[in-house]
């Protein structure tokens, strides 16, 4: 019997359904004049702590919403809600990252007449979230210096794709062997355009520069969009 063995050229993107929904989300944020950011980092880097320190100062001038991604609990969202900020918790039930469809499902929960900034805190992970566009304007990484100065070189994809990195737990620098110059050199070698902030969420040092930068990003986005 003659074999009907043949090759079909496909050349299709494996993430196309995520990427299409991400563009829909992005259009939603744009229509509502809202800057959306995707906050990434390892578990324990201080993503939620950074938000807790940032939100009280930001909400003086603007309306902020938060989407929290977590595998099981609502611990992070409870911490954010205590700051009088509208927050929705997404539990991924084991999933290692948020995807654009999950984000789209919670968007109707917010008041879009009054949201200037949407902060999406991803599941704690330096690997998977890098590949999944949520429709954000840009990504921000939170990296605690105690994770080690080799981490940017070991997880380059996420650093290549971010606009800013917040180096947290600077108050612990003297207690560790971390070489800050090496860490920053590696970050800039991977992504020369990235903004680097050195902060301590514990004692508050360095937070003002980060908050001013983020406020300015919201203003710039809204001016360019409007």
């Amino acid at each position: 019997m003659e074999s009907n063995r043949r090759e079909i050229e496909v050349m299709a993107n494996l993430l196309s359904s995520n990427d299409i929904q991400a563009e829909v989300n992005r259009a939603h944020f744009r229509k509502n004049n809202c800057l959306a950011i995707n906050v990434l980092g390892s578990p324990g880097a201080g993503k939620t702590s950074l938000l807790e320190k940032t939100l009280p100062l930001l909400i003086v001038d603007m309306h902020v919403g938060v989407i929290e991604g977590d595998i099981f609990t609502s611990k992070d969202a409870d911490r954010i809600a205590a700051h009088e900020v509208p927050v929705i918790q997404i539990n991924t039930g084991g999933g290692c990252h948020l995807d654009s469809k999950m984000v789209s499902k919670v968007l109707p929960e917010f008041n879009w007449q009054a949201t200037d900034l949407m902060i999406i805190e991803n599941v704690g992970n330096l690997v998977c979230p890098a590949d999944f566009d949520l429709g954000e304007a840009f990504k921000v990484i939170v990296l605690s210096i105690v994770e080690g100065d080799d981490k940017p070189a070991k997880y380059p994809v996420i650093f290549r794709n971010a606009k800013a990195v917040v180096l947290n737990k600077m108050d612990l620098e003297a207690l560790t062997d971390v070489n800050m110059e090496n860490m920053k050199q590696d970050i800039l070698a991977i992504n020369p355009d990235i903004q680097i902030f050195e902060v301590s969420c514990r004692n508050g040092n360095g937070l003002q520069a980060w908050i001013s930068w983020l406020s300015q990003e919201v203003t710039t986005y809204q001016e360019n969009n409007g």
Partner: protein, 154 residues
């Protein structure tokens, strides 16, 4: 005070229950997929969901009895692990038109183009530096692919 609302949203592509009902009534597979999902490879499960979306779409437009080979192109500037993809692929193929198919994963090295002198070069270590003019402003022209290149079918 705002009340926290919690929504549990499992990625469709790596939802073991959906996969179970779509592909098989096989309890062993269900347990295996659940095991994979909770243990590791959840990232590759999401990507494999994308692979099977593309396969389903492609074979719906062709007359196909069996899929023999699936070729992927995976850039070095993504976080997809070829070994994990292989393992998840086998789980997804069981009891489908793809059962027994071979998965070929081609890794695509990162290449960049210098925005100053236009030199194109391979970026070996993820450090983006032009070997010609030492500029650091480099456009990535290759290495971000996550593609299904082709299917071999009969």
């Amino acid at each position: 005070m705002f009340n926290t609302r919690v929504l549990t949203l499992v990625a469709e592509s790596c939802d073991a229950t959906a996969l179970f009902s779509r592909q098989s009534e096989n309890a062993e597979l269900y347990r295996f997929v659940q095991y994979l999902e909770t243990r590791y490879n959840v990232h590759e499960m999401s990507l494999m969901g994308g692979v099977f979306e593309v396969i389903e779409q492609t074979i719906s437009q062709h007359e196909v009895k069996r899929v023999l080979q699936v070729k992927l192109k995976v850039g070095e500037l993504t976080n997809a692990e070829p070994d994990a993809l292989q393992m998840v692929f086998e789980a997804f193929c069981k009891d489908t038109i793809c059962e027994g198919a071979e998965l070929i994963v081609e890794r695509v090295p990162v290449r960049g183009r210098c925005r100053t002198c236009q030199l194109e070069f391979t970026v070996p270590t993820m450090f983006f530096l032009c070997p010609n003019c030492q500029n650091t402003s480099i456009e990535v022209i290759q290495g971000e692919e996550l593609l299904l290149e082709s299917l071999e079918v009969e």
